[in-house]
């Protein structure tokens, strides 16, 4: 009954006109960003973050969350019609979605992607409601050692599960921690790595850093290439899948929803991994695995459901433990901090309006997205035809205004441009920005909890192994860190190329 009452309370917040508008803007922007190849949820959220400064914290989180799960819906459209994923979590949808479109079944592919996303998104929110309260109570038992250990595990998992090299991911996490230390020390208030630059005393702000690494860098890479995506000229009809389509896809949707939710909870999980795992699961259990890659509807339904429920799953550790499991949630974490809130176990007690308001808005947003993504498909197809030479100056301008408006300072604009160059070079040299951003956001928490733990234990690292939660987290993190090295030595023994696959 408690959940029911809380949900009603949530709807009383979510249905307020300002919050409805925030939700609508969020899911519309999310769909737009998802449809457009080249700009992902992180870039879009960082660009739009300054527009939330004048909103209430609830509206701000509702809008930013809407962008996150809206992107997952929109991404499938580009994958199915253009064979280019709108964002990373829709990569796998290209395999069967585009094949279905080529066979004249673009309608059912888009339809099942939207319905699957809707069902998974809704089931994910139910999961979030059920898991959040007990986990928040569990989180209240966390002390500095537990927090440090769990965050360390999260950072390690993010780098381990990232698409590129593990060593490079770990380097990025270390660099993110270093960047987070710039400015005044939290405990002694003495300046660190500020190089006598006054603006650096407050540290580097997250918004220009993320805008540069993801927004500006993406534009620079796109400007360099001259790719003009070809849109499949097909008539989109029968958006409502047939009964046989539903029979084929229903299991995939359900499995994708459950799998995606639990993968989303894991640090480093999220839409990309869950969609790939769902695809391989569907292929493995299918009676006709040879159909996959040739237009199997399960290959669209499963991954699209998984990446949507993963977004709901990602909110569980965020709201209950205050630990963002991926870079998008790290950005949301930063947004809440800007609004004077700190996600964590006490958020549900102190600010139930934020948690239940966001939960209810996710139900509302999922309905909005279904409406936006089915009848309005032709509109999104038209958006795909907007030339990049018109889009890129606008995206650049939004980034410039966004970074300037933070503190009304050109310094932040320059910081953003510098990180744009850094992000561009990262792409060139195959480094990933996500572990850096996550480490940057979590850096102050890592430092505070590490130093507090060491002060409590009088310098003994055994404090991390004397408590069950921190011990388990630290041991797993250590195993993940040394796995590449062990694997290296094993390959040396076998006298084969040792680091090719490890690093």
């Amino acid at each position: 009954m408690d959940i029911f009452h809380n949900l009603l309370y949530g709807f009383s917040i979510g249905l307020q006109p300002a919050n409805l508008l925030a939700c609508f803007i969020g899911v519309s922007m999310g769909t737009l960003v998802g449809v457009l190849p080249g700009i992902g949820p992180v870039g879009a959220m960082s660009i739009l973050l300054p527009t939330t400064f004048r909103m209430s914290p609830v509206s701000a989180v509702i809008m930013l969350s809407g962008i996150y799960y809206g992107v997952m819906y929109g991404g499938s459209t580009t994958s199915i019609l253009v064979n280019i994923p709108g964002e990373a979590a829709s990569v796998v949808t290209c395999l069967d979605g585009y094949q279905m479109a080529k066979q004249g079944r673009a309608g059912p592919a888009l339809g099942i992607a939207a319905f699957g996303s809707f069902i998974a998104g809704t089931l994910g929110v139910v999961g979030l409601m059920l898991f959040a309260a007990p986990l928040a109570e569990f989180g209240l038992r966390f002390g500095p050692p537990e927090y440090f250990a769990v965050i360390l595990l999260g950072l390690t998992l993010v780098t381990y599960l990232s698409q590129g090299s593990v060593i490079k991911g770990l380097m990025m996490a270390a660099f993110g921690l270093i960047l987070s230390c710039i400015g005044l020390d939290q405990i002694s208030a003495s300046p660190r790595m500020t190089f006598n630059i006054l603006q650096l005393l407050d540290g580097i702000d997250m918004v220009p850093l993320v805008m540069g690494l993801f927004g500006i860098a993406e534009i620079l890479i796109n400007i360099e290439e001259s790719a003009n995506p070809e849109i499949l000229e097909t008539k989109i009809k029968n958006l409502f899948p047939s009964v046989s389509d539903w029979i084929q896809a229903k299991g995939a949707i359900l499995r994708g929803s459950i799998l995606g939710f639990f993968i989303g909870i894991l640090p480093g999980g999220g839409g990309v991994i869950s969609s790939f795992l769902s695809y391989s699961l569907e292929k493995r259990i299918s009676k006709n695995p040879e159909k996959f890659g040739k237009g199997a509807i399960e290959g669209v339904a499963g991954p699209e459901s998984a990446n949507n429920s993963a977004t709901s799953g990602a909110f569980v550790p965020f709201f209950t433990l205050g630990i963002p499991p991926n870079v998008v949630m790290a950005l949301l974490f930063g947004a809440l901090v800007i609004h004077g809130m700190r996600p964590g176990p006490l958020l549900l007690q102190d600010h139930p309006d934020i948690f239940w308001g966001v939960v209810s808005s996710m139900y509302i947003g999922n309905v909005m997205l279904l409406v936006l993504n089915l009848p309005l498909i032709p509109l999104w197809v038209q958006v795909l035809k907007v030339p990049y030479r018109i889009l890129f100056p606008l995206i650049l301008l939004f980034c410039l205004i966004g970074s300037y408006s933070l503190r009304n300072s050109s310094f932040d604009v320059i910081v953003m441009i510098i990180f744009g160059i850094v992000g561009y070079l990262f792409r060139k040299f195959a480094y990933e920005g996500a572990p850096l951003v996550l480490a940057f956001v979590l850096g102050p928490m890592v430092e505070l909890n590490l130093r507090q733990s060491l002060l409590l234990s009088k310098g003994s690292f055994l404090i991390f192994f004397s408590r069950p939660i921190s011990a388990a987290a630290i041991i797993v993190a250590i195993i993940l860190c040394i796995t590449p090295v062990v694997s290296y030595f094993l390959k040396i023994k076998k006298n084969t190329n040792p680091l090719l696959k490890v690093i």
Binding site: A430, L454, G459, I503
Partner: protein, 152 residues
């Protein structure tokens, strides 16, 4: 991986050494009482260690004859440099000339860069962009955009 990993590995190695020196100057403290430089120092050590592994592994692989990939060949990287110069100029001129003038010139430049339209179309597009964003951000969202020496 190829020589780009070796190059970047050396770069990160230099960064890690620099960070460690800076951290020592800030004061690392002890394990019993960690100082302000404690986390940056150990993060720098970790960064340097991983960078070293990257360089060594790349040297080992080089011996096996992996080919280098040309990162710049066939790319329109001159566009990238032009955009970066224009962005830096924008950041420096924005407080002096104000939002309207600086943004108009930046937009006109960007539209002309990869566009094939006529000059007046680029100018009108830039003007519309500036006015629309001014209304959205300055009037509607009340973002404090700089006015510059001309007062607008």
């Amino acid at each position: 991986m190829n020589s780009r990993s070796r190059f970047s590995g050396f770069f990160w190695l230099c960064i890690s050494i620099f960070v460690c020196i800076e951290s020592v100057q800030s004061g690392i403290g002890t394990f019993r009482s960690p100082g302000p430089g404690f986390l940056p120092f150990w993060s720098g050590v970790a960064l340097g260690t991983f960078a070293l592994i990257l360089v060594v592994s790349d040297i080992l692989k080089k011996k096996e004859g992996q080919k280098n990939i040309n990162l710049w060949g066939g790319k329109r990287w001159r566009n990238v440099i032009l955009i970066l110069i224009s962005l830096f100029a924008y950041a420096l001129l924005l407080p002096k000339l104000g939002y309207l003038i600086t943004t108009f010139w930046l937009m006109a430049f960007l539209y002309s860069m990869i566009g094939r339209s006529r000059l007046w179309v680029q100018g009108v597009s830039a003007l519309i962009t500036v006015l629309v964003t001014y209304i959205i951000f300055y009037v509607w969202l009340e973002v404090q955009l700089p006015k510059g020496v001309f007062g607008f």
